[in-house]
Amino acid sequence: MSPLAAAQLAVARERVRVFAQYDRAFEERCDVVVVGSGPSGSVAAYELAAAGHDVILLEEGPPFTTRDLELDGNLSMTRTMREGGLRMTRGTTMPTMQAVALGGGSLVNSAICVRPPDAVFDRWAARYDLDRTDRAHLDPHFDAIADFLGIAPTPDEAQGKRNLLFREGCNALGIPSEPIARNVRHCRGSGECFTGCRSRAKQSMDVSYVPAALAAGARVFTSVQVQEIRRSGRRVTGVSGQVVAPFSHGRGTSHAFRIEARAVVLAAGCTATPVLLQHSGDLANASGQVGRNLQFHPGVAIAGVFPEAIDSQFGATQGYQSLAFLDEGFKLETLWAPPPLLAIRFPGIGADLQARFAELPQIAIFDAIASANRSLGRVRKRFRSLQPVLEWRLHPDDAQILRRALHVISQIFFAAGAKKILPGVGGLPDVLHSADEAAILDSSAVKPSGLVMGGNHVFCTTRMHGDPKRGVVDEDGRCHDFDNLYIADTGIFPQCPSVNPMFTGMALARRQARTLSERL
């Protein structure tokens, strides 16, 4: 996306509302109201506005300027994440995050854009009665978004040593690997994708699709929490809710608002959209599938310690990956984050722990995300709250996948020259010193309860299915139960996509928006 013309920019600024501007309750009308400004919602808002429709994009979080970005990873999470970044699943305990900011997760993710392989879509088509959700139908949408955001493989000069060590290790073992394609232009390698890109190289939605939507005529209201979807028979009539103060975690509510619209697009995220439907009188749930089928890509990571410092602060946050093991159910990646967040898994107390910290300049992190299609859960709303309760259990077969992934990661580390690794698995030694020692990672010594996981890719809670009795939305994202209610977030994925989901969500949203535009 090119910078907006000066005249466009001036007009666009008038279409933004921020918390400080709300001084009374308000009502608005539009053609389409889009709830949530994450990747899918922003794409939908832009496409609909560009098609000439009157669009209002609603976001509960505030916009962040570069001066609002908090460098301290801990404080950054409290400001940009729901539940202060401390959200956990029940059943199998696992942290999971959801952003609350203009641009949604794109503000604080590592910008990974991967198209799922054909096998993923083939599985979806076969099991979920889908005819048009495959690469052939979606590639034009992937291409258009890639062009708009400048999605390209991370160049070597922005990789930094810790990413290139992954490549070296993979090469030594004959494992195919590749630079990660990201929605980033001119990456400077600051390694701070997770706290927001101060260079504005990352094309998060707040610097790309949202400004484009504004320029195309959309209005963007920030700091507004949608609390109810309003309905009349088989049609929804709009949404209502309250203004919320930034960083108040939904408690600093003030003025009420109501927006009437000819169509509603819910893009609040896989955990928030089902709660909003449940909070609105169990809406769109004739199938009984709202909130069910919850899936994650549970991730595991290992820290590898190299003999020398590797300038680990420099380089793309996640610059290299291997898709070689997708058939086995996992994807490998490099990873960086604010060092205190990485270090919370380090073992030890006192001087032992501090000695681990002192090794951080020599440390790289490699991780794996698993296609955990057998590990299911559900989302339900808390009593008198819009916060979700997430119940989820890791299936033993998926634990095996993670075990195997940990072992492969360990081999890559030692092939790349690591002198030791910190596997971070409960019940195992804190440190493993060789590839032979690391064989324990692919053994029954790794218990599911010992796996330390994170799960930030969330899916399937309003899944797409050709059969209205078995899914919430159809292939165009329209709720089976309503004529004008659409869902555009990763909740509509029928299964986890095996790769990072943002790009797929955006492609589906673009297609949905174009279909909706024709129907309006």
């Binding site: 921020v18 404080l75 401390l86 305990t93 400077r188 707040d206 001087a351 501090q354």
Partner: protein, 228 residues
Amino acid sequence: MLTGFLLVVLAAGLSLFVHRRGFVGYAPAPAGLAVLHRGEAAFVYAVAEVLFPAGGGMALSGAEAGVAHAVDRHLAALPRAQRIQIRLLFHLIEHLTLLLPGHEPGGRQRFSSLSAAARVDLLERLANHRRSLIRLLFTALRSVFVLAYLGHPGNLEGLGLAPFEIDPVVTDAEVLFPRVGALPSSIPWDATDRTEPVCTPLDPEGPRHPAYARAAVARAGRSGRAGS
């Protein structure tokens, strides 16, 4: 009658014991804390002292890094529910040793009154407990402290891991959106202020964020005074 009287005396004695051992006698909390009260602050100091001792190979010890204030800032920024959970965790461990004393004599004290060795002993028992839930509680506790300690600019700068200095950029977003909480009229930029994208990666050896660089200077100053 006598049995009842003895039970009352016993209950009163137990209450007095728990009260004295558990809830009184804390030193005043340091100034500037928004959330932590004196007992919680004492607990945080007691944990930080043994988790991050002086001379452990890091630029700053837990006390020097102001862990209590950092934990306090974190708690203040959290949603109420999460803040309560963490404070309950603090209280649980602070008073755990009243019920489950350590191995050494005099171990039936609240955590913050134990010797350093006894505190380490308890934390190690939690870290290596056979029940994963207990290990999880310990990990949660330690996480709060690691984030506070390692996030200190002096420690990150000392490791060479401070954020880079990055010249401010002005994009469409800076022109469109005010700072959080501010009115659009406060936006200092217009279209003509937009900066050209910088196309070159940072120098891995390049300058770090000024706030972190200042922490390095302050740390060097302390070291100089200590050595003089």
